[in-house]
Amino acid sequence: MREDRSAWLTPPNAAAPDTRMSTQATFRPRAGRWLVAGLPLAYLWLFFAIPCLLMLLASFRVPGEFGGLAPLVGSDGTPALSLRSYADLFGSTIYLWLFAKSLAIALVTTVLCLLIAYPLALLIARSPKRWRDLLLLAVILPFWSNFLIRVYAWMILLGPEWAIAKTINAVLGVFGIEPVTLMFSSFAVILVLVYVHLPFMVLPLYANLEKHDPALIDAAQDLGASPWQRFRYVTWPLSLPGVFAGAALVFIPAFGIFAVPDLVGGTDGIMIGNVIKQQFLETRNWPFGSVLSIMLTLIALALTGLAALAARPRRTAAV
């Protein structure tokens, strides 16, 4: 359901003529403008910006004796602030390691999604118009199902009594390798992550590929380019904004996820999202949980920023 995230990543229609007259603000009474812009603004300040700022402040506070946060002003009247939680983040290598591991898993998931989604999107984009809606709907349908259902589907399929496990183990048996359990492993985690995020990659890719001017491909063909060259030098570069939009839509959620490792991960399966959840709901060390969340968001935003830069439309298709 994140299809329209791609909209904000691609810059608004700069080519369209500005049909707005000077009606902008001159005729509207200021009161009306304040209300229309102000109400959503106030809501988002209250229920988004301020919680985030609170979290930022919490990262400098001290955990309470039974969990949560200690009072801001201690019994001696001084504010109970410390950099202890930040020190904890860097004090043990495990957290940075987990960030790196989660990054790696998210990247692998993104690449795999791309490899599977690209042919699919290409097919839909190149199909005759009347088929396109149907094919697209067929991709969207699983995307509209609940995320947990999709995880659950694989929890069944990866069971030891099912065909997938039996086939793999039969093949391994031929080579004399011990049978493996597919569930509770990194394999399961990545497989499920790819499955759950696949539609998020297909839609932005399709949106981009659909706009490609067939004339460019034809021109390349006329100039003697092989199919591979046509792809490499025409289709691929033009599709880059779509690729990056889809990559962002897969990477950001996959990076911070906790439900999938929780359900299908093995004894070494946790990702940084699990640790954040643990801090808030089990260890109840809220300052530290805040530090981790902030780090997660900064990394995710930095990478998204890079993606947005790369998503600016290219002026030329050629190398």
Partner: protein, 259 residues
């Protein structure tokens, strides 16, 4: 110009479709399996659906999900339409950031930040806290849809109305709103689906009293892989199918991703 679609592309795409659908098909088929374990097909039964309808917890969770989704969709649509309008018309600097940031950020950040916020203002976690959280992240989606709809609208119609003496609110109500209505409805439907499907943010802001369908499924999936979960999954799939059908009737272009 007809583009020739090479065979390998067909095969790769078909494989992708299979990958997408086979697991879901398995879930649906096995919801009728006469066996507690989701391992082999034993026989056909609808007993799991009966069990589901007698499951108090599940029914409460479903009702909660619906209540939250409807309220959040309504509130988010109103606020989101206003935001979309403001983004399109006014040179706001802070608003775009606040509207789009919840979409771009990892959900876990919003979930824990809101948890902290609600605890600090002493708001009891429950249906209200979840609804407030859902509205916060749905506004952006509605705003995007409404804004793009506004961008595609012909401004001269509004100007004509103004020239005829209509006040800004009248121009909005009688000219703009009907024109952008498909977009508003699409946004509302999107907000509804996002809310009913949401897991991460609900997980942190629900507290102990409010259970929603995704939370309920999560606890069931953790305990056992039983056909009851298959049954609830199948019903959810049907519900979303129905929603899509409704959506495409009301706003035929709502599924159109290309702008």
């Amino acid at each position: 110009m007809k583009r020739a679609i090479p065979l390998w592309l067909w095969v790769a795409a078909l494989a992708a479709y299979l990958f997408l659908y086979v697991p879901l098909a398995v879930v649906v088929v096995f919801s009728f399996n006469d066996s507690k374990l989701n391992a082999q097909w034993v026989g056909f039964t609808t007993a799991w659906y009966v069990k589901l309808f007698n499951n108090e917890q599940m029914l409460t969770a479903a009702r909660n999900s619906l209540v939250i989704a409807v309220s959040s969709a309504l509130a988010a649509t109103v606020l989101g339409t206003m935001a979309g309008f403001a983004l399109h018309k006014y040179k706001a600097r802070v608003l775009p950031v606040l509207v789009f940031a919840p979409i771009a950020m990892p959900e876990i950040l919003m979930g824990v930040a809101l948890l902290m916020f609600f605890v600090l203002i002493n708001l009891t976690l429950g249906l209200v806290s979840v609804t407030l959280a859902h509205v916060a992240f749905c506004i952006g989606y509605v705003a995007i849809v409404v804004r793009s709809r506004l961008a595609g609208m012909d401004e001269s119609l509004v100007e004509a109305a103004r020239d005829c003496g209509a006040r800004p609110w009248q121009a909005f109500r009688h000219v703009t709103l009907p024109l952008i209505m498909p977009g508003v409805i699409a946004g509302a439907l999107m907000a509804f689906t996002l809310s009913i499907d949401d897991f991460v943010i609900t997980f942190f802001t629900a507290g102990a009293t409010a259970s929603t369908l995704p939370l309920q499924i999560y606890s069931m999936v953790k305990i056992a892989v039983t056909p009851e979960v298959n049954a609830v999954s199948t019903l959810l799939l049907l519900l979303t199918l129905a929603l899509i059908a409704v959506a495409s009737r009301i706003a035929p272009g709502v599924l159109n991703v290309s702008k």
